[in-house]
Structures are given as C-alpha cells and as structure tokens.
Symmetry: C2
C-alpha cells in the first residue's frame, strides 16, 4: 500500500502560541491575514492593487468596471481563504470568519449556473473559457479555490463553500476527459490535480480522482494539446517568450517519461505533488517512481542550501544541474512552499528523514524568509547574496529586492506563505493505524487515532533555538504502536531517552527515524537531545558559485551575514577553516535570535595600496563576524547580505 | 600648449610583418578585410546579413527593395573603408583598393545634392532627416564616413572620398549650429565630434572644428534637445527603454559638469575622445580637466583587468564603481577600442605612462580578443569567466558567447577591430618638434621629422613574448632631441642601455617615460630589457567579484585558464599564493604562444562524499594548470574560461 502514513488534519494539531511556529502563526492570524484582506481589497496605500476581491464583485454583478490585474487574481483570494480556514480550525476568529463568509457568498453569486467560476473569463472574455489552458490559469484558479473550500469546510463544517467547489469540479469534469466531445487538455499551471485529490478525499467522489489522474496522464502527450489549442485559437506558433519544447510547463514529455525537474519551478512542484497524490490513491508504483526520480534531481542537483529552488528569473525556472548562483538566484518563495508540499507527500509514501530534512530546510529558511517579522512585507525572490547597489543599478538584478515589499502585481507568494504557516500542523505529524510519525519539532499538542485509541501527543521544546525536545505520549488507554521520531540528517550525535532511560539511537533508527515500538501508557515521555554545533556546510564542487565557500548552519537554520552587523562589503570577509564558531541567544534581537559569532578576517580596504588593480594581496585584519538566521534577514536597515562566505584554509 | 605630441600617421609607421602586430595586421589585410567585404555584401553563408552595401546601392539608385538592418549599417561600411585606407597607406593591395573605390563611387552616387548621405533616411524616411538625433545615428554614421574618408585620402591621395566627406560635413554644418534657423542638437551616439576634428586637421577648415566644439558644448544643456526633439515628433516622453536622466547618452549634464563615466560605454569613449581633440585644438584646459576626471573614474573604478569597460548588458553600459562581475560582463570590444582611442588622445596632452599602460591593456587583451586568430570570427562581448552551459541555458547570460561569431545583426565590432589593428602605427609613437615618444613596443620602422631632420627609428623586438626591445635611431644627420621611451607600469625592474652602456632608468624616468635627451647619430641604439616575471594581479577589495581571487599577467598580457587545457569546472581550481609560476613558449600552440604553468589544486569532485551539500571540505589534489593569453581564448574547442582564479593562501 502506497502512502498509508497520512498527515494529521490541522484541526488535530495545536501549536503552542509562544513557540517558534506559534509566534509565526500568531503573526499570520493577527496581522498578516487582516493585512492581506486589506490588500485584496486594494486598501494598502502605496502597494500595487490586487483587484482580487473587486474582480469577483464584478463577476457577481455587485461591482462595475473591467477585470483588472493578471488573469489569476482569484487564486490570491483563494489562498487567503484557505489560510483563514486553517486558522479557524484551531482557534475562532470572528472577524476573519466574517470576511471569509463574505467572500464565499460573493463567489457563490459569481458562480455560473453550470458551476463555472473564474472572475476573469466571466467579466472579460466569457466566450473564451477553456480555450487557452496553456496561459490563462483557469484550472489553476479552480484548484486553489477547491483547496480553499476543502480547508474552510474542514475547519468550520460549513457546506456552502464545498458546494461551490463540487459544482466547479463537476463543471470541469464535464468539460475535460477522455469521452467524446470532451477536451483532452490539462493546465498550463498545475494545481488542479492535487486539489481534485483533496476534494476526492473530502467527498469520496471518485470522479475527482479520475479527473486528476486524467490531467496528469494527458500531460505532454503528442499530438500536443497546447499546440492544438493554439491552432484552434488561430495562433500559428507558441509565442516568442514561450518554450518551444513545452518544458516550461513540464509538458515536454508525458510525465512518466520525465527524468529531470524542468521549467517553472512552482508549476513543477505542484505537478509533482499532484502526481504523488494520484500515485497514493491509485496505488501507482510506477508513477511514484517517477516522483522519486524527479525528487532526486531536485534535491541532488537543483536546490539551494536554503531549500530554495528555481535559479533563473527567466521563466521563474529550473535551469540545469548545479547552476545555483547566489546573487542572481530567483528562488521564489512559492517554489519552496511547493517543495515542502512535495516533500510532505513523499513522506507519506516513504518514511525517510531525507524528505523531512528537505521539508525542514525549505520551511525554516526560504519559506519563512518570504515574510517580514511583522507579517506585512514579503519577498517573492530569495537571493543568497545581495549587494543593494547592484539591485538598484544593474538591470540584470532588478528583480532581486533587498527589502520585502508590501504587495506585488503578481502576488502569489504572500497568501501562499499565509496558508503554509497556518497549516504547519499537517507537516509536523503523520500516522497510520499502528504508527505515529514525528517529522518536525514544534511545541504543541496533537491528537491521533491509533490501534483504536485516541492518543494525545505533546511536544515541549524551544526548537530550533533549543536542542531539546520532549515528546509526551498520552493514550486514552495503554496501547501498542510505533512512535517514529525523525532524527534530522544535520544532527550527528542525537540522544534519546524513553521515560528518562537513555536508548541507543543507532539501534532504533531506520531511514532516519527512531522507531520506538512499545505499549504506550499515559505519561510516557521520549526525550530527544539534538546537539546543534554550528555546521560548516560546503557545496558539491560542481556548484561553481560556491567554490571555496562555506555556509553556516545551526540545526535546521541556515545563517547569513548582514551589513548591519558586519559593515559593508561582505565579500571582503573570509572565515578561517579553524575559526571557533559560537552561538548565543540575543533576546533583544529581532524578537529573540540565536546568533553565530566567529573570529574571521576582513580584507582591509584602507590598507589597499593599489588603484583598481595591484600586485599585492590586500592586508587582512581579524574581525568578529556575527551571523543571523537567513530567514530573518532584511528586517533591520537595508544592506548587503551573504550566505556563502569565502573560506580561508589558513 | 595642449596636445603637442601628435601621433604619427599610419603612413609613417611600418610594422614588421613577422612580428606580433604584423601578424595580426596581415590577418586583417589578407583574411579579415576580404571576409568582411563579403559580409558587407551578404555573402557569408550562415551569418546574419549586413545589408550594408546593398542599402547604399539602393540609396544610389542601383538597387531595389527596402532598407534593411539597423539604421546605422552605413557605419560598418565606413569602418571597413577606413581600415582599408590604413592598410593601403603602408602596402598596396589592388583588390582591396578596387573594392574600396567601388564603395566610394557608390556613396558619391547616393549622396544628395545638398551633401547629405545616409542610406537609411534616403531610402526609408527621406522626410525625417535630423528629426531624431537621439536614436537614429545619422551624425554617428556621418562621423564614421568622415573618419574613413580622411584615412583613405591620406593613404591614397585620392580626393573623391574627401570631397564626399567635406560636402557631408558642410551639409551638417548648415543644419546644426547656434545661428537662427539652425538646430541646436547633438548626436545620440557620439562620433561626429572626433571625426570633424580629423577633417579639420586634414582640410584646415575651421568650421569643422567649431562644429565639433558646438556639439560638445550643447550636449546635456537645458532645455534638453532630446526632449524638444521628441516633442516635435509628437512623442510625449522618452520611450520606456530609455534613461529618463539621459545618462545613457552622456547627456544628463553639460559635459563640463560631468564627473563619472556613465551610460553606453562606447558612446562615452567616443565623446571623451572628441572632447580631448577639441580641448587640444582650442587650447581648452578646462575641457581637458573634465577628460582627466572622467578618465580617473573609468580606470580607477570601472575597468576590467583586461582593459574592458561597460559591465552591463542592459544599455551596453557602465554601471557603478567597482561593479565588475566576471561572468555577466558585457565588456564590448568596441568599448575597449574606444578606451584605446581615449588613452591615445590623453597621451598627446600628458606624457604619462599611465595612459599608455591602459592603452596597452585594452589593445593586447580585449581588443585582440574580439577577433579569432584566423580573422573571420568575432566577439562582441568579452567576459572574464564563461560556463558554456550557463550561456546556453540561462537567459540572463544569453548575450555571453563562448565562441566567436561569423557576423552580427549589429556588427559594430568586427570592422572596428579591423580599423584599429590596421592603424596600430598611430598608437605606437607620437612626437613634437623636439621629442619622439615610444608608447608601445612593436617591431618595425617609423619616420619622424624632428629638429628639421628626418629621423628613422627601428624597433627590433619579439615583444610581448620577448622581454627585449632594441630601438635603433637613424637621423639623416646628427640631431638633438629627446627620445621618450615608455617604461610600462607592470615592469618592476627595467633596464636600459644606450649604445650598449647601461643607464640608470630611475634617473631617466619621468611620469613613466625614460627621457633620453642627446644628440643622436645614425646607428645609435637604445636597448630596453623589460623583465616579465609572471605577475599575480589582485583587484581593489571593493571589487566584490574578485574577492579572494588572483589574475595572472605576464608583461601586458592577461592570462586565463581554458577547459581544453585544464578540464571542466575551472572554479574548482585554486592557486596557492606561493605556487611557482613559470612561462615557456609553445611554438605549436595557436601559432606560437607563451603559456604560464603552475602547480595548483583542484577540488576533487570524485572524492566528494556529500550529495549537493555536505559537511566536509572537498579533498583537493595537486594539479598542473596551464594558462594562455586571454586574447587567444576560444580558438580551440569550446569550453569554460576563467581569468580570476581562486587564490589559496596556503
């Protein structure tokens, strides 16, 4: 059986509000989501307008004017709604719920009698529905709405939103499929596939699963749907910006023949996630093997140390193996969210800490970097090296921002961060009938059904600042099951105590999880100590951009230098291989931050005797450097930032 | 008196055909110019058509069809003609002369009765002459034709070409100027200024000098001519691609207020060159001071070690101080040609070897790099680091080529290289009534008039492979003058012998030139020994792209590593600070090449135990590396190239 270890519902996981993730979630709930509601209503002065809500109002006949903004603005509203659903699942919030219900009512009015819902086509081009799947994001927007509906329904039990979703899915199901008169198309931006599997799981309606599988199986087949569709529109060829091989859309080959992660990286992640979902539900080992192959290419060849992917601005895309430049990285926030989604699904199929390691790397670094500490500013692009003057004055770096932005014309990332942080619970645990799996360390409580018993599990931890995690297990009655606790790949000497008695981790570990099979009684504890010496991370020598360089990591947190702590010209700094690296917690720094300090060297500009070029090496002087978590960069004064430091072997 | 040390005419300098520059010039004459004649006639299979000759044929009423290609195609023809002129000045070539006369006759037919000549406007938009100086390159093309005419007339004594030029200049002089009814405009692409000074020097007609000065003085004044002109065309604003400050065109400020080199780097160099010319002819110390200030900014802050300038593809432009990325360098060949022109003019005003050092750096590295060894392929862009896969697969590096091209749609560089190499003689020497200056070392003979005597001067040298230069001085009769011989800035321990007797260089040198004042007799010799230990060059620590890196230079030649010699992944190589660097001459390598070898290290990919990231440093192994002159790169199999090597202090 594939994928028997399912994540918990968000409802069953409560993150402690004063913990690392609880604090992020609190910011999302109390600041980020209200802020984004204003943004979606075009009420943020100085920010690019979203038009998201107004477009739907027009489609519902309650507003006037043309549709504005990109064709996919509905999806931003949907992701916001999905995030609200996750928040309401664990804690009431009348204001958010009222706003959400308002949106849902509006969408109900905007939905056609045939179930169709897309504000762009309803308002601007009603006759052109489903005529340009390649570019127009109809199925993408539908997918996001379905995800939102499932989340909001799960949280609130309200059926109105699910009704809209099923009618929309039924509409799509009537248009697309293998039957005569149906379109054999598939989306240019994947998303509907995984959404339909969610809807199938919620409703039990197998047609939705079949449709998801259909979309996946049709993708990339010849004759090529995007070509036929373009011909039908009277277009001769793919537009000049498009990729003639269709790799941009992961439609260059049938998915089962694909070996490398290519094209738009967010699309790729959503596709692969949907493929795992379909593989699970249809017991398709072959399809899962494809996913494993694509996973290997991503994490072995195309992932930044921060868990970012997609190294090219052009096409927001993967490029080629080991092409991971730091200063021209695209590294879209959404792509790392997609990588977390993909990883979470792979974990369901294969309990291997490698997946959770990548999940953790993406979440704690790039995903968190996407949002300011206060929840109201966002990064779309997450570079690993920034020289603000170059961003301002070099056109080829103009997409690299050194300050988070209040909103974007294409604002996919901000609400995506909201829904991801709000659904963190679904990433922390999974289970099957005889096993509870702990993937991430996050203080809080979770509820499981194992062996016919309800089991409460509590994590007490200050992770990732702290190295210690206590897991308290409280079954209703004594019950036997396996508790599989992840031992992170970055941790070299973990310790584990069961009810205070130290156990051999090595004996317990399989594929990176300590498997503790026993009859559990209420009050049993597992104590985990995950020592976090500061790691020097080096890249595979094939990564040319990182040659001779080192990154610092403590636990799951990748660090960076910022100008505000270390002065300008961070490239002039080199870290000796034998430098002592120490960490300490600064409670006043950005809400409390574990920083890394070290003795390093700085090329001494003032001692440089040459002009632009000279014969002597620049004298260097010892300096103290201070590194902060990458995800917290750019929350103080703007300046340079650097993840990969020059390493000095002397 | 400003600028009393004038370069020799090409007629007076014969470069030995079997010498370094003689060989390059031979390739230009016997291969490059005939090849380019075909290119200008659209006869190179597989190369982008020039349309250059055909456009003029249409303008002359001898061809049909629309004008094709960019508006400035006439200038490619002009630069080719100028190069032919320089070649004919020193050696007859009936085929080239026949082709040149053919072009000149065609242009005479295409010229209007009012003296106007521009094939684009004549063929395509006759009513729009002089209505868009900002973009349409009319004055630029005119300037190149004037330069060509002066060169061809000087070489052949034929007056037809000069007649066309003076009629064209008179036409321009009637249209532009301070008098009522005249346009107070100036070119978007500078070039006419220096050309008019050349024409003034040839004809003695002061109006041409006045017009050059007018163009320079009008530039950047308010109200802004480009704005007024755009309004007159009915255009509201500068187009979106344009720079609203006009810095792209060096028209952001009146030139006398300019302090930094900005905008399109070729335009900047042509402007600054024209400014020096006007400063010389009008004895304008203030204008010369501006040139010195701009020079300082270029060479102290914005020049690659290869003498390349203009680090941004966008706008082919300068960016900001110390922004000199290696892999995304634009570094246009024409810009280094322009830098050589600027340097050569500064040398006329200030006999300081700093100017000649930059001149030599540009000529021996980037300018030469622009042409393949066989003379038929060209680089427009001259990066300092190339990873071919990135050029092929990253859109943001798509302008970086790793193989020279047979031609370009915008082919400014190929004929520019031709005219530069063909006129090398004008860069080697200058003189005034009492002084002969030797700026560059190039085997051959030159003829001077000093102190009323004809003086022949012969250089015997295998420079830059050889360290030795013999200068033989042969006046008709004994005569006193100063021979000023440049002591290159890169040379730490030069030696100098007069008639075999060693002299103290230190005693003779002022501003980088050994001043040898004496009564010269026929057969006198000056022997120069310029030891060329291999230099490790480091960049100012403010150049972030070069932090921790070293470049190798021997004499004036900057070296690089190529994949063909050193395997792939050149970034994995590091050069110990104490590595012994040796050079030797390989007679079979690319026509005979002095190569540098060293013991270095290579990060051993095969010994890397991690996946994409790991905790250990990659074990490194000793390897022998081999560096070749930068200008010869990409003449063997395509592959990676690297100028700045990681330096390993251990």
């Amino acid at each position: 059986m594939i994928g028997d270890k399912r994540p918990l519902s968000v409802k069953d996981v409560v993150i402690d509000s004063n913990s690392f993730w609880g604090e992020r979630s609190r910011v999302v709930r109390s600041v980020g989501l209200p802020y984004q509601w204003k943004a979606l209503n075009d009420q943020i002065p100085g920010a690019p307008p979203s038009h998201g809500i107004h477009n739907i109002r027009i489609a519902a006949g309650r507003g006037t004017g043309p549709h504005r903004g990109p064709v996919f603005q509905d999806s931003d509203v949907a992701k916001w709604l999905e995030a609200v659903g996750y928040q309401l699942a664990v804690k009431p919030d009348p204001d958010l719920e009222r706003a959400a219900d308002e949106v849902i009512a509006l969408i109900a009015e905007a939905q056609g009698s045939d179930g169709y819902f897309n504000s762009y086509f309803t308002v601007a081009e009603p006759s052109k529905r489903w005529t340009n799947l390649r570019d127009q994001h109809e199925l993408y927007c539908a997918g996001h709405f379905i995800e939102a509906a499932v989340a909001y329904h799960d949280a609130t039990g309200k059926t109105a939103v699910l009704d809209i979703a099923t009618r929309l899915a039924d509409c799509i199901d009537s248009v697309f499929g293998p039957r005569p008169g149906q379109k054999r198309g598939y989306p240019g931006h994947e998303e509907i596939e995984l959404a339909l599997v969610k809807l199938y799981r919620t409703t039990g309606e197998k047609r939705y699963l079949d449709l998801a599988k259909f979309f996946i199986d049709e993708r990339g087949r010849r004759p090529h749907y995007f070509e036929m569709e373009a011909k039908a529109r009277g277009e001769e060829k793919t537009p000049p910006w498009a990729d003639s091989t269709y790799a941009y859309w992961q439609a260059h080959l049938p998915v089962r023949e694909q070996t490398d992660a290519v094209g738009h990286s967010v699309r790729a992640m959503y596709l692969y996630s949907g493929m795992v979902d379909v593989a699970i539900e249809t017991e398709d080992e072959g399809l899962l093997d494809v996913c494993k192959r694509l996973w290997r290419n991503v994490v072995d060849k195309k992932m930044y140390v921060t868990g970012a992917i997609g190294s090219s601005s052009h096409g927001e895309a993967f490029t080629f193996d080991y092409d991971l430049p730091s200063d021209t990285a695209y590294a879209e926030t959404c792509a790392s969210i997609g990588l977390a989604m993909f990883a979470n699904r792979m974990l369901q199929c294969d309990l291997n800490s490698e997946y959770a390691d990548v999940l953790e790397r993406a979440l704690y670094n790039t995903v968190l970097s996407g949002m300011s500490l206060d929840g109201t500013k966002y990064f779309y692009v997450n570079p690993l090296e920034v020289w603000p003057q170059a961003c301002d004055q070099r056109r080829d770096k103009s997409y690299v921002k050194y300050q988070r932005q209040p909103w974007f014309g294409c604002a996919c990332c901000p609400p995506n961060i909201m829904r991801t942080i709000s659904s963190l619970g679904t990433y922390v645990y999974s289970q099957n009938e005889s096993m509870i799996c702990v993937h991430l360390f996050a203080a809080g409580r979770a509820r499981f059904e194992v062996g016919g018993q309800e089991v409460l599990l509590t994590q007490v931890t200050g992770y990732p600042d702290s190295e210690e995690v206590r897991i308290e297990v409280s079954p209703q009655q004594d019950v036997e099951f396996t508790l599989a606790v992840r031992i992170p790949g970055w941790c070299e000497s973990p310790r584990l105590m069961i009810n205070g008695v130290e156990e051999s981790v090595q004996r317990l570990v399989r594929s990176g999880y300590a498997h503790i099979k026993r009859r559990w009684s209420s009050g049993d504890t597992v104590d985990l100590v995950l020592p976090m010496p500061i790691l020097r991370v080096r890249a595979n020598p094939a990564v040319r951009a990182c040659a001779g360089k080192v990154a610092l990591q403590r636990g799951p947190i990748v660090y960076c230098l910022e100008e505000v702590d270390n002065g300008s010209n961070l490239s002039a700094i080199s870290l000796p291989t034998d430098a002592e690296l120490t960490s300490h917690f600064e409670s006043d720094l950005m809400g409390g931050t574990t920083v890394i300090t070290a003795e390093a060297y700085r090329d001494d500009e003032s001692a440089w005797s040459g002009g632009l070029y000279g014969k002597e090496r620049t004298p260097r002087r010892p300096i103290a450097v201070k590194a902060v978590p990458y995800w917290k960069w750019a929350n103080r004064q703007p300046g340079e930032m650097l993840v990969w430091l020059r390493e000095d072997p002397c």
